[in-house]
């Protein structure tokens, strides 16, 4: 008899989701779906608002990575106010924003790895749920938990110094930034009392990569095999092919590494990418036009970035990048759990970038804003912690926003997350009549590798729990588990 399984709500991801699993009459998994059931509609809220409000208004759709939205919106408005398409700002304007962004990347990745992902690694996917959480980590691996907290705090202090507040600041304004760094602020990051200084952050970030590599050695089958599937990958890269999380051209490669988008200007992103709406989810499905709806889906985020970039422009992260690349002989890496590895390499890169920027005297200067001839349309892209984030605004003659289109990172990963769930469901649930705790968490682990922010993706509010429901071939619910 066919069955359907639903997992809702998914835990330790940001937002709210539900997984349904339909079984066929042999009890094998026929279809899986990750449904995103919240709706928020920021694209509609901003209509009619003066354009310069967008960076401050739209960031409210997320409490986890507001900085990414803040900056992507500001970058789109840079175009509108005639300040260039990402590289036309004053040195202080651009570098302050970069510092804000790397601080954000650092804290978000640290949060994800230490608090959301490490419980699965330390206690196992089917570990006791009572200890398989951040509290369990804190009790058993105190040093790791403390590092996670301090790294997050460091990143947040960087955000505060650049944006004015730890969350939902106002730093980036169209054409630049509203403050520069003070010498005291700079010195507090460079020479702060242990452990709150950049040197310590770099060494902890290195430790975290080493921790992962050691874990990988011991758990090869799980890390390499769990929810692995071939896909295309998309991200921004710097014009010379370097990893650049703040600005660049759009590059997409297929599962074999062949370029599908060859370093194109993202102002015309809609010439290359479209979004499909499906009636069972509020989250849209973006795809590359060239490959069509069926095959045009792609992955974004740390794994995609480590696949698209040719190199990382900071020494320690580059060394790790080479090890990462060698593992797949330079071919694209399609293993979902390697997302964690890539994320930690980026954490190290972000720390090194912060160090480089903090030592840059431009951050202390006060030439903050630049403007030119106004235009009506602007697109801003940024590599948010979870992947490429698109903000597109059009304004009317009165400076009011007429149209906004946001494609958030998690939306870009919509199809990949569905594939990951599918692959895990097949492995764990074929022939099953009920959802065990281990199975339920396995589905979650697959989703969690993408660090999805489902609130952002539907521009929805709240914490993210997940529910899994299992349905038979006649659409009768035969089991349901919530976390």
């Amino acid at each position: 008899m066919g069955q359907k399984i639903t997992i809702e709500p998914v835990t330790r991801v940001e937002g709210h989701g539900k997984v349904t699993i339909h079984l066929d009459d042999k009890g094998n998994v026929r279809q899986t779906r990750l449904h995103i059931v919240e709706f928020r509609g920021f694209e509609r809220f901003v209509q009619g608002r003066p354009y310069w409000e967008a960076p401050v208004l739209v960031q409210r759709l997320c409490g986890i990575c507001p900085v990414s939205h803040h900056l992507a919106a500001a970058k789109a408005l840079d175009v509108i106010v005639g300040a260039g398409t990402g590289d036309g700002l004053t040195p202080t304007g651009e570098k302050m924003r970069r510092l804000m962004h790397y601080g954000q990347m650092f804290q978000s990745h640290a949060l994800h790895f230490f608090h959301l992902a490490s419980p699965d690694l330390l206690f196992g996917v089917d570990g006791d749920p009572l200890i398989r959480n951040v509290i369990g980590v804190a009790l058993k691996h105190k040093d790791l938990a403390v590092q996670g907290v301090m790294m997050r705090k460091f990143g947040q202090e960087i955000i505060k110094a650049t944006a004015g507040k730890k969350i939902h600041g106002t730093g980036a304004i169209p054409g630049g930034i509203n403050k520069h760094l003070s010498i005291e602020e700079r010195d507090s990051f460079l020479k702060g009392a242990d452990p709150m200084n950049i040197d310590k952050m770099i060494s902890w970030a290195q430790d975290a990569v080493d921790f992962f590599k050691a874990y990988h050695k011991e758990n090869k089958d799980f890390i390499d095999g769990f929810a692995a599937f071939p896909s295309s990958h998309l991200s921004l890269v710097r014009k010379d092919g370097a990893m650049d999380l703040y600005h660049g051209v759009l590059r997409a490669i297929d599962a074999d590494g062949k370029k599908i988008l060859n370093d194109v200007d993202y102002q015309n992103y809609d010439d290359y990418i479209d979004e499909e709406v499906k009636n069972w989810s509020y989250m849209k499905f973006p795809y590359l036009l060239e490959l069509g709806k069926e095959n045009g889906w792609y992955r974004v985020g740390p794994l995609a970035r480590c696949n698209t970039a040719d190199f990382i422009p900071t020494p320690l992260a580059q060394k790790e990048f080479e090890i990462f690349k060698n593992y797949t002989n330079g071919k694209p890496n399609n293993m979902s759990m390697h997302m964690h590895w890539a994320r930690l390499i980026e954490t190290l890169h972000a720390a090194e970038m912060m160090q480089e920027l903090l030592n840059d005297p431009d951050l202390l200067k006060d030439d903050l804003v630049i403007k030119g001839t106004k235009v009506k349309r602007g697109v801003g892209l940024i590599e948010a912690p979870r992947g490429t984030l698109f903000h597109h605004y059009e304004i009317n003659d009165n400076d009011q926003i007429e149209m906004a289109n946001l494609i958030v990172s998690t939306t870009n990963n919509n199809e990949p997350m569905n594939r990951a769930v599918n692959s895990v469901a097949k492995e764990y649930m074929n022939g099953q009549k009920e959802i065990t705790e281990g199975m339920r968490n396995a589905v979650e682990v697959a989703i969690r590798a993408y660090d999805p922010c489902l609130s952002c993706a539907t521009h929805a509010l709240g914490q993210m729990p997940l529910e899994i429901t299992l349905f038979d071939v006649h659409n009768n619910m035969i089991d349901k588990k919530r976390s």
Partner: protein, 232 residues
Amino acid sequence: MSTLVKFKIDGVECMAERGTYIVEAARENGIYIPTLCNIRGVKPRGSCRICTVLVNSRPMSACTTPVTDGMEIINDTPEINDTRKSIIEVLFVEGNHFCPSCEKSGNCELQALAYRFQMMVPRFPYIFPNKTVDASNPKIIKDHNRCILCKRCIRAIKTDDGKNVFAFKKRGMKLEIIIDPELGDNFTDELAQKAVEICPVGAILPREKGYQIPIGKRKYDQVVIGSDIEKK
């Protein structure tokens, strides 16, 4: 021949020039009485009632009542402050005030008063009125969602020959501020800037200039509204 009068605020002996309005007289004596619709140097209107005090046991608006000899004024009591707080709450629920994304945040008098009076959740239900944004003027944008109808713009913004640039239109819940089309189109930069500054909330906004002052440096980021008066 002294024109000074003696009066008491909350039992404290005060002195001021005869005819001075109570808010102003209090200020001269280092006592803060909250105001919102009042503008120093412009004829008071007494429309918001946030400055309500008890004068010889009767509630009066302190911005429109001159001090007299021997007057007993009660200003700072839990009951009066709660009345003030309730007025602030009414103003919040009657409009659409989204402080988090408002560029006046940190410089807004309504927000500053809400902080001063420790407003948490309004005791009245939100009305969520359907209001518009008027962005047709070349110098400023009017956001009716945030207008508290204090009339400060009407009273203070005048052309060189004394004409009002702002006026009220419609009635009741639909009441809103309009700009004289002709005078508004010829707004000087100075006058437009003055209008932005005179508005206690974010209902009159400058064009293409938002969030220029970083958080931490805005007017009420460091100090509570009124504390400059109390310090004296």
